[in-house]
């Protein structure tokens, strides 16, 4: 444990020293992964399905605000969908527009979740996002998480029904619209996932704010369990064919990842908790102070053993010579 703590402190020191380079690098990597995933799943427009284009846009994202990644991802998605089928692009474009008009214009800080969640879905660990957002976000993060889930399921539906939509090319526009909208709105799995993730975010947030020992760990565990429960109950009620094994394994892996997050963000020593009470003119204060776990970093000190000779050699006096 001590080694881990020392490693954490070294990492933090490195980050604070090279923050100017590390933050853009992380943004670059996130943008790169996002755009590569979009291209690999949707790559209908050949002109943007090129590594050079992806690299240039990712480089732009690296020194722009975080929300720019979301915009770049949305533009890439829309261009691909436009190349694939106009009706699909219009329906999903309206979905994005509604999200932007009704939620993103509040410019919440956790917009990036909308990009991260679909990526986590593809990695089969989407559960890491609602638990983490409950720990480091606010209850409003539930809306960001819901938007992320909607984006994933909208794109998932398009990818799954590519051949069907493509074969409808000759049919009327209205019929295509109807097919796409029906598919998106009747997606019960999406509704259940939104409900499960929303409940998880709010529950984790409420528990971790409680003034009890190990609130974070309890919140994480409760969040993971409730997430599985809601997904399973939803599956039983609406018969959505959720892969039980996948949900449990995914949740366990997500839980372990969130533990890493907890180690970095909130690592405290409850055994040394102090409770104090005092008052001033206006209030009584009931303060619970929980110390952070820290270790002193071993610093290498070079100790010089051989002292430098500063004294000048004593010149021989004539008298000594003479004697």
């Amino acid at each position: 444990m001590t080694t881990l703590l020392v490693a954490k402190q070294i990492l933090m020191a490195i980050y604070s020293k090279y923050e100017v380079y590390i933050t853009p690098l992380l943004k670059f990597l996130l943008a790169l992964v996002t755009l590569l995933v979009i291209n690999s799943r949707l790559g209908y427009m050949e002109s943007i399905d090129k590594l050079t284009v992806v690299l240039i846009v990712s480089l732009m994202c690296s020194f722009m605000p975080m929300n720019f990644i979301v915009v770049a991802a949305a533009v890439f998605t829309m261009l691909h969908l436009y190349s694939f089928n106009l009706e699909t692009a219009v329906v999903l474009g309206i979905g994005f527009l509604l999200m932007f008009l009704l939620y993103l214009r509040f410019s919440p800080k956790d917009t990036v979740v909308i990009v991260l969640l679909p990526i986590c879905f593809l990695m089969k660990i989407p559960y890491v996002i609602p638990i983490s957002m409950g720990l480091i976000g606010t209850p409003a993060s539930a809306v960001s998480v819901a938007c992320g889930v909607m984006v994933y399921y909208m794109l998932h539906y398009v990818v799954q029904n590519t051949t069907v939509i493509a074969s409808m090319a000759d049919e009327e526009t209205a019929a295509k619209f109807k097919f796409i909208i029906d598919g998106l709105l009747s997606n019960r799995e999406m509704v259940i996932t939104i409900a499960a993730f929303g409940i998880t975010v709010i529950l984790v947030y409420i528990i971790r704010r409680l003034s009890m020992d190990y609130a974070w760990t309890i919140a994480m565990t409760a969040g993971a369990v409730v997430n599985i429960m809601v997904l399973l109950v939803g599956d039983l009620m609406f018969d959505t064919n959720v892969a039980l094994f996948g949900v449990i394994v995914g949740t366990i892996i997500s839980f372990l990842l969130v533990m890493v997050l907890q180690f970095f963000v909130f690592n405290v020593d409850y055994s040394r908790t102090e409770k104090v009470q005092f008052e001033d003119d206006e209030y009584y204060y009931y303060v619970k102070a929980v110390p952070k776990v820290t270790v002193a970093r071993a610093e290498k000190k070079v100790k010089q053993i051989n002292t430098q000779r500063t004294a000048k050699p004593v010149p021989r006096t004539r008298s000594t010579h003479e004697s």
Partner: protein, 131 residues
Amino acid sequence: MLNEERIILMTQMASYEANEGKKNVAIGSYFRSDYIGWQVLKSIISATIAFVVVFAMYIFYDFEIFMMEIYKMDLLEFAKDVLFTYLKFVGVYALISYLVYSFRYSRARKSLRLYYANLHKLAGMYKSGRF
């Protein structure tokens, strides 16, 4: 001679100005009613656009059936229904944005008050010649 206390205070304030403070100063330059009113107005415009888009989708979704039934239905009643739905939607959205922006305004003012107190403290340090 360097004054450590002053340097710490100035660093904190510079960091605030560069990050969170930028937004808060912009918010703080408005009166409360002006700021919230302007933001709620923007929300109403956004909600109206969103409603029009959704309504257009709704019509287009069953366009043929809608065109067939348009002669049979009571248009006045239909328009009234749409208007009420619109008002409910915009009303709820405006209320939510009112709450969000009221909270943001009071938070920004609070944080600016602290910033100005620090500025005052700094000015005091210069006056008393502690540098």
